[in-house]
Symmetry: C2
Subunit: 475 residues, 2 copies
Amino acid sequence: MLPPKSNFSEWFHEIIQQAEIMDIRYPVKGLYVWFPFGFKIRRLVYDKLREIMDRDHEEVYFPTLIPETELGKESEHIKGFEDEVFWVTHGGLEKLDVKLALRPTSETAMYPMFKLWIRSHADLPLRVYQIVNVFRYETKHTRPLIRLREITSFKEAHTAHRNYEEAEENVRLAVSLYKEFYDFLAIPYLILRRPEWDKFPGADYTIAFDTVMPDGRTMQIGTVHHLADNFAKTFDIKYETPDGDHAYVHQTCYGISERCIAALISIHGDDLGLVLPFEVSPVQIVIIPILYKGKEEEVMDLSKRVYEKLKGYGFRVVLDDTDERPGAKYYKWELKGVPIRIEIGPKEAERNEAVVSFRDEKVKKSLSVEELSKEKILEWAREMKERLKKKAEEEMRAKVRIFSNLEEAKEWIGKGVAVFYFCGDEKCGEEVEEKLSAGILGKFEEIPEWISAEEKGRCVNCGREGFLCAAAKSY
Amino acid sequence: MLPPKSNFSEWFHEIIQQAEIMDIRYPVKGLYVWFPFGFKIRRLVYDKLREIMDRDHEEVYFPTLIPETELGKESEHIKGFEDEVFWVTHGGLEKLDVKLALRPTSETAMYPMFKLWIRSHADLPLRVYQIVNVFRYETKHTRPLIRLREITSFKEAHTAHRNYEEAEENVRLAVSLYKEFYDFLAIPYLILRRPEWDKFPGADYTIAFDTVMPDGRTMQIGTVHHLADNFAKTFDIKYETPDGDHAYVHQTCYGISERCIAALISIHGDDLGLVLPFEVSPVQIVIIPILYKGKEEEVMDLSKRVYEKLKGYGFRVVLDDTDERPGAKYYKWELKGVPIRIEIGPKEAERNEAVVSFRDEKVKKSLSVEELSKEKILEWAREMKERLKKKAEEEMRAKVRIFSNLEEAKEWIGKGVAVFYFCGDEKCGEEVEEKLSAGILGKFEEIPEWISAEEKGRCVNCGREGFLCAAAKSY
């Protein structure tokens, strides 16, 4: 049995294991094992991410090991990462001449090569991505999918452009691709420009996607960084302009990790287990025969017929003909988040019908087997996605509130996200964060239409002009 | 320009870069970068490997970092790997309590978890695989795709069974899957049981797939290990039998790395570049318009029409409408191994025809655009695969010779594989290897029908009874 989702931390801890997403018993802190079932979700989700990236980017693979000499080149960057890099110091019994870092992210692996790849304006834009494992020596409390020492599924994209504006256009492209990805997963988000002191080390600015978890804490589920020519200057990445001059490229990079799976589980799941959108569910349809004495054959015949039919449409279907009781089967497949359940008992066998229900609703409907067409099922999948999206967005909206003073905001934080005007000044920000015991997530890059507030207003702390900002406790 | 393939080592070094498979300029020895084009081949090849594995195995992901305490448990295993393990000793500025190895292979990461996963006979067989990066501190000469410090694309499968015989059945299954994979790539192989002293550290026995490279050296492109209950005893992996007893599982493991891509390039390539089988070619068909003054429009119209038609069939097609001369285009796409080339000039535009040629033949054929059906192209793809397979097998056979004395065998080694009878004794083996200046690859697990020899005969060195064996210099 799962704890209720209202006890989110416990619920997440348990569902990860009970639904067989990850095994948390690996004997090193912060490292986890993907179970086969969890990895199937991972494949389906990342297949979609690849499909989206492939339109404008090319997939590559750069080495995991980065020499200390390269990692240390960009001073802001190394400052941001030096406390959390794993170091390889020995090969076999020998000490290495140059220490090697396990990539925490791949700027410093890629950009020395970009210098070699880019010669002329005709080589730009350059857009590549890779899906790789990256490593962070996390000293905080670790958690599967959320805070890891080995991030197993980091999709990182890196681009180079002719100037600041073209890189900025690419930032907008990246934001639109990430929107598409999270809309596909029915996961709602806020798009925020991180404050200066919380941007990616080495970036000009950072735009983040945050979702709001069931306990009211936010979780960063994607970031897009404008790097300007900061790294280009460090790694000497220049191109020849059409006029024959040489100019530094401007770069962007953007990443999504397996936190997208953590969000998928956390946002849609309920007290019974996972609730998965049709496209990313390892099992899309489960057929459960309800066997009564004397009617077993008819029921099994029809169940198999329905199974073959749905399989023939290309869906991932399971016919659960094990010896367990129907109740135990319901429990199992609900836990696994299967979107569509079909029950077939003696009455259905007689009438050539099936009883259909959806993971997110209590409603059951009977219909004739003929009506179970491919189109019908895809329509149900779309409808279910819409319901999940609507529910998730309503839940997020209910957790986001506007405040005009910090005392009330502080009361709310812990339950959700506080929105207020803030001047953007770092000193003032420190005060705000201290008063709230929470972090400023930054100003709204896009103010959602359901937040009825002007873009600008008086800073809630100092009274100077400020922008609409969000603050919350975060994962 | 490529060096001739007869100068294989140079040719391989150059084609890797010129055909944009890997960038060898990464600033750490033995680490390379997959270019976008190379990575597309990698994706296509590994998609097939996944498809084959998915039938009987489930995909998982285990951590990269293995604590020293686990890696050291199986004494033969650690002896085999201790010289080539990279060690992580520091996290940030802190020294780790327990050193972490970068996985050289994942037995010792997986099997402590198998102990937790396996309880009863009903949990068996257990068959999982993962496609991951693994690390070896190679001190020998490193080479892209062949001898690496980071093997980026290691497919490793691990299984557990009720007893020795069922594990052995799985060895046969694994061998059949690897045959299917290499047959798909039209790469010929010898299947050899490695001598005792060359088996996988901790294994009961090792069966290897070796292909013969153009320079006559062999390359191991896959291995299948029967582990018996060796690791089960070390990691205490037991199951409850139907009778209620407890017994150790018997295990197997088997792996394929990006050497499969090295073989694909080396076996089929020629003086002009890559020659790729249709299914794994990033570009399957290239259309080259031959433009003459006054006829440009007609030629481009038909070229676009053919492009749309072939694209509509789902093929990966490029219409090369760049400004380069046709000769430069031929050169470029030949280098990239594109299997089918379609040329369209004024004559073809007038007659609604196309000139088709294949990467592996000099023949050109004209046919009407209507005849360019999906079926026709798939038929050409099959025919080309058959030609590649036939050619590759003939080349391999010509490099394998039977010998009844070691002096003649020694003369041959360097040009190819020497086959002879050998008793299997380690001491005798040392003498043989010294006399040949080459390694014994082991006895034929399956004697190919084109080697006309008995399975048994007198050992070429000591005269005792022996089995048909192969020896060669190897990559």
